[in-house]
């Protein structure tokens, strides 16, 4: 199972086994990682599962859809080039070792 590291704004790190086919968002919710709100449950109707992907690992993640790009306009924290909606980061074997940074706020 890919191991994904979630880094909180204060630097605290939490490490999860994310099953293949499960999103980085869902894994955080199931495992009680604070900092992912996921208001719409992964329907790409909100931007409250915003994460920053470690910049040099962006190529391991699936391409951004136009819908995701549009919805990223609603992030409560600054949108950066490595901003993603974690509901769209569905784990593949390439995710092993992925590091995502949680934003200061989701709402």
């Amino acid at each position: 199972m890919p191991i994904v590291t979630y880094v909180h704004p204060n630097g605290a790190r939490e490490v999860l086994d994310v099953p293949l086919g499960t999103s980085v968002m869902r894994a955080a919710i199931v495992n009680g990682i604070d900092g992912i709100v996921a208001e719409c449950g992964g329907e790409m109707m909100c931007a409250t599962c915003h994460v920053y992907v470690e910049p040099d690992q962006l190529d391991r993640t699936p391409a951004q859809s136009d819908d995701e790009k549009a919805m990223l306009e609603f992030t409560a924290s600054e949108r950066k080039p490595n901003s993603r909606l974690s509901c769209q980061l569905v784990a593949t074997p390439e995710f092993d070792g992925l590091v995502v940074y949680l934003p200061e706020t989701q709402v």
Partner: protein, 412 residues
């Protein structure tokens, strides 16, 4: 003085959010969250979409894992029902005999499916879709349903119909008005989805009521329509809207009128009682009249608004309403409330399955319905949060840059 207690009745999306947001906001007192379903708080939208289609499982539905509630010191009581509110002694009584004292009470009692008062509605195979248990029953029967009748062409009925067809069922949709989803969408969107469902293979009878549900040996066999036809069905879904669960409030002497009546701060006539989510009837700057909305957005934002008020961050509830519906390969996204619009213009082309309808009243944009067009939806949410200042001509002109327009607006 003892720490204050907030009791929340109803552990759906709104009740859950109120509890979670109280803790996010640093509320120091006790938080009690009571739900009558025998499971953890869960998301309802997938019940008529991915969960029904077997693309997600119950574990994908929980709003939070069980540990969350202990960690956040939320006293979650589920599988028990509040039977009465005692306003004088500030207590709620539960079916189990338990009672809780409260300093503030939040009613998030939701809604239930409106029953269809015709003979035969008690037959085996006549189902509704509101709860996880409902969805489980439907999912089980859908695999070998064969012929399915859907009574009511609202969001739930049409979402169910799309899933049922994809599962191989023969689907007949029966709608009493001439406009599927007509209570919430404009005529062009209603017509577009009607044609889409016909394209997927559904039969649709519009302007048609149901006079009885037919059965044989206790099991459903079909429905009889108001124009005298008999439509065969092994499975009948009744989805003709909901009734707000307002009886507790009414019995406690609170105002009830299509839901529990609250003011712009989501307070009932009793300053110690709020109501939020599907059960709350509230004034809004986004409609000419009071509204009662059934949506995730409404539940979440109202839960948060009440939590903020209870920690002293007082402000009226003024969030832009938004909704979505997934049907087949079509994603419908709505920003604002388009009911009562006077004019509308199209942006994009329905023939390409990619368009929006911009709805205006008194020359002002009041809502936008988008089909497979998230970019318009995003802009619409931004525009509606302030004075949109968008003319129908600009909205209809695909060369006119809506994002640039939105960026120029001052924030409200």
């Amino acid at each position: 003085m003892a720490a204050p207690v907030v009791a929340i009745v109803g552990a759906g999306q709104a009740g859950f959010q109120a509890a979670a947001s109280l803790r996010d906001a640093g509320f120091p007192g006790r938080v009690v969250l009571v739900g009558d379903e025998p499971v953890l708080p869960y998301q309802r939208p997938p019940l008529s979409k991915s969960y029904l289609a077997g693309q997600s499982e119950a574990d994908d539905l929980w709003l939070r894992a069980a540990e969350f509630y202990a960690k956040q010191q939320i006293d979650l009581v589920y599988g028990d029902r509040v039977t009465a509110i005692d306003r004088e002694r500030r207590r709620v009584h539960l079916a189990s005999g338990t009672e809780f004292v409260w300093d503030h009470l939040v009613l998030a009692t939701g809604a239930r499916c409106r029953p269809l008062p015709v003979p035969g509605s008690e037959l085996d195979g006549v189902l509704a879709l509101r709860t996880l248990a409902d969805a489980d029953a439907l999912r089980q029967r859908l695999s070998d349903a064969g012929e399915v009748a859907v009574i009511g062409a609202g969001f739930i009925g049409l979402e169910f119909a799309a899933v049922a067809i994809a599962c191989g069922a023969r689907v007949h949709i029966i709608e009493i008005t001439h406009h599927p989803m007509g209570r919430v969408v404009s005529e062009p969107v209603s017509r577009f989805f009607t044609e889409a469902h016909i394209g997927w293979g559904a039969e649709i009878s519009l302007g048609t009521g149901v006079t009885q549900i037919l059965g044989a040996s206790g099991r459903v066999a079909g429905v009889e329509t108001s124009d005298g036809r008999r439509i065969r069905a092994k499975l009948v879904l009744i989805c003709i809207g909901v009734v707000p669960n307002a009886e507790l409030a009414r019995d406690a002497g609170l105002d009830v009128d299509n839901g529990i009546v609250v003011d712009e701060w989501l307070l009932t006539g009793d300053p110690a009682i709020s109501a939020i989510g599907d059960c709350a009837n509230f004034p809004t700057p986004f409609a000419a009249d009071r509204v009662r909305l059934e949506s995730v957005q409404n539940a979440v934002d109202q839960g948060r608004c009440v939590a903020d008020r209870l920690v002293g961050r007082v402000g009226p509830y003024q969030k832009v309403p938004w909704f979505w519906s997934d049907q087949g390969d079509l994603k419908l996204q709505i920003a604002g409330i388009t009911t009562g619009h006077e004019t509308s213009v199209l942006r994009g082309d329905p023939a390409n399955r990619n368009f929006s309808v911009f709805c205006f009243r008194g020359g002002r944009l009041i809502g936008v319905e988008s089909v497979n067009r998230t970019a318009d939806h995003v802009v619409a949410r931004r525009l509606l949060a302030g004075d949109p200042g968008l003319s129908p001509q600009q909205a209809a002109d695909e060369r006119y840059d809506l994002r640039a327009h939105a960026r120029k607006l001052p924030a409200r």
